[in-house]
Amino acid sequence: MIVVVTAAAVPGYLHPQNQINLLELSIEKAIVALALSFVIVSGEIDLSIASVMGLAAVLVAWLRQQGVPVEVGIVAALAAGTLCGLFNGYWVAIVGLPSLAVTLAGLIGYRGVALLLVEDRSIGGFPDWFNRLGQQPLVGPFPLALIVFAALVVIATVLLQFSGFGRYVYVVGSSREVARFSGVRVPRVKMAVFAMSGLTAAFSGVLLAARLGAVRGSTAEGFELDIITMVLLGGVSIFGGSGSMAGVILSILVILNLRNGLALANATGNTQAGVIGALLILSVLVPNLIAAARARAVRSARVEAGRRSLPSAK
């Protein structure tokens, strides 16, 4: 519906280049949303994703400044992201602390490290091949990040919906106890989803650095809320155990198209944020209202049935 309305309203919206533009402008967030879906389905949350993105981007830039080749810097950044994820996972899965608190600490801590490394500076001057990967089309009109996103969509869908690991994630998310008694190694599953989240966030951070061509300590600051919105709007329950990858992918497309439509109509950033916020509330509210209405209907039907059965019981 959004696509149709916007296409009618804004000339040039359906142009293929615009569709590529709108994906490219937020592609890093979309990629992380795929990994975060696993965390949320497993009944946890990872607030540290944007800070891990920033830290990874900063690491590549900072290491380059210290004379380390960018190739090595990328590997180091990915390793650091995975470590951040494992660190989060350790406190949540092994020690049993709430993920909200652990990853909130991560949000602050990892960002802190990034800021320590570059202070207030803006570091650029990456080699050309690195910038080109982020800024120029690789195959046809599609830049690398878009191709990676497409591949990850397939991998994430298969992993969550059609693999044993995916089923474990759902079971862990619906009930930890049930999962434990049915022989699922809950800590191991949780460690895995957090490590995935960290690795993907770091990878996205590197992509972001390549697209922007320069990095600051505040790179990717505040992205976590957009990414969580993408997942929740896709129908993944914040309590874990339900939701689907198809929903998340659809929600990513809806949000990006909506934002782009609003931007093309010159709505300010605040308006865009307001609209997406309202949409999120609706997306949580409507299913709950429907569920409540249905429950009420069932209850009154039961009462009705009980009343009808009364005379015969007399």
Binding site: N18, N21, G124, G213, N260, N266, N270, T271
Partner: protein, 372 residues
């Protein structure tokens, strides 16, 4: 006008999109450029002629400041609006921008969307350093003219022209002179409170200041630190406090940004430090008047942002209508401000510049008259 106020409900906003489309004419951009083919407008820079604008053409233009919500940019928009009325442009320009905390990403997004939206010119005060260059180059390739004002694209990649408020090297000398005035012949320690680390104009001025300081005249001035307040009042305020705490014998805070200088002056005033630490830099008289009169910021400088917006609009209109090509040596007339010349930018390794000027120094003698 469009849908700025429809923030409350998503459904409302979506339906507002339809209305916006009906209300906003989608300008027929391709027709506008060819309409310039009048004989007098044959834009040949070698003819030593001064290009003049042909009013009444329709050019869809975007004025993109670093972010919305501070006075200098609003003043620039006032100047652009004034020029627009004179040139009778059939399409009202858009004055849009990101929020201050999303400036880099936001500017890239506006730049990326510009050609889809049918803009013929983006007038940008660049806050994204060279990070904006890929998007600007893509827009240029799609036929959009990119005119920088206030803050250029450092590499000049993707930029047709830069309308410079003042000579960037001169800014360094002006700041060095003000620091010398405030500290006296004895000299002492001073620090810079800048905008954001990606701001090309501030970075160029800081570099120019460092170069100027090599002059033996300023030998006793010791620049001890450069910090960034990101053009946010609160952050600038705490950064100014932090500077004083870190350097107890600091004598001057030099802030080459209107947000930073006002915040630093307030921080010194609130901390009752104005006898020890003076604030100077680039500021707006209306925001600085009380600090200048109470001695916290005895001297500062600036130029007219209204004129800058006006001149930028003229240059952009001339460029988009083909009256000038954006080449070294071309001259053009910009309404009430007179004739200007496009030259190579001596303060960057690449790029073309139109120099506005002049600097205006403010102190207790003239600040009240300007503040009105």
């Amino acid at each position: 006008m469009r849908i700025q106020h429809g923030a409350a409900l998503s459904l409302l906003a979506i339906s507002a999109l339809v209305i916006a489309a009906c209300g906003g004419p989608a300008a027929a951009p391709s027709a506008t450029v060819s309409a310039t083919a009048s004989a007098t407008q044959a834009a040949s820079p070698s003819a030593a002629g001064v290009a003049k604008a042909t009013p009444g053409q329709s050019v869809k233009m975007m004025l993109l400041p670093k972010f919305l919500g501070i006075l200098p940019f609003t003043q620039a928009n006032k100047g652009a609006t004034e020029a627009e009325a004179e040139l009778k442009n059939g399409t009202t320009h858009a004055f849009v921008g990101p929020t201050a905390d999303n400036s880099v990403q936001g500017q890239i997004e506006f730049m990326t969307n510009a050609s889809t939206q049918g803009y013929k010119v983006v007038m940008i005060s660049n806050n994204a350093g060279d990070q904006i260059a890929p998007a600007a180059q893509a827009a240029q390739a799609a036929g959009v003219k990119i005119v920088a004002w206030d803050s250029p694209i450092p590499s000049a990649k993707g930029e047709s022209l830069f309308v410079a408020q003042v000579d960037f090297n001169e800014t360094g000398k002006v700041m060095a002179d003000m620091a010398l005035n405030l500290m006296g012949a004895g000299g002492g320690k001073f620090a810079i409170l800048s905008a954001s680390p990606d701001a090309a104009n501030q970075n160029a001025w800081i570099k120019a200041l460092n170069d100027a300081l090599k002059d033996p005249k300023y030998a006793k001035l010791q620049l001890v630190d450069t910090v960034y307040g990101n053009d946010q009042s609160e952050k600038s305020y705490t950064q100014a406090q932090a500077l004083v705490a870190k350097y107890p014998d600091l004598k001057v805070i030099m802030a080459p940004t209107t947000v930073g200088i006002a915040a630093a002056a307030k921080a010194m005033q609130d901390g009752k430090l104005c006898d020890k630490v003076k604030v100077s830099g680039l500021g707006l008289p209306s925001e600085m008047v009380s600090y200048t009169l109470n001695g916290c910021a005895p001297q500062f400088a600036l130029w007219s942002f209204v004129d800058l917006g006006y001149l930028t609009y003229y240059a952009s209109y001339l460029l988009a209508t083909g009256a000038i090509k954006g080449a070294d040596g071309e001259q053009f007339e910009a309404g009430r401000m007179g004739t200007f010349k496009i030259t190579k930018d001596p303060t960057r390794s690449d790029g073309l510049r139109v120099l506005m000027g002049p600097f205006k120094l403010y102190d207790k003698n003239n600040v009240e008259a300007e503040a009105k």
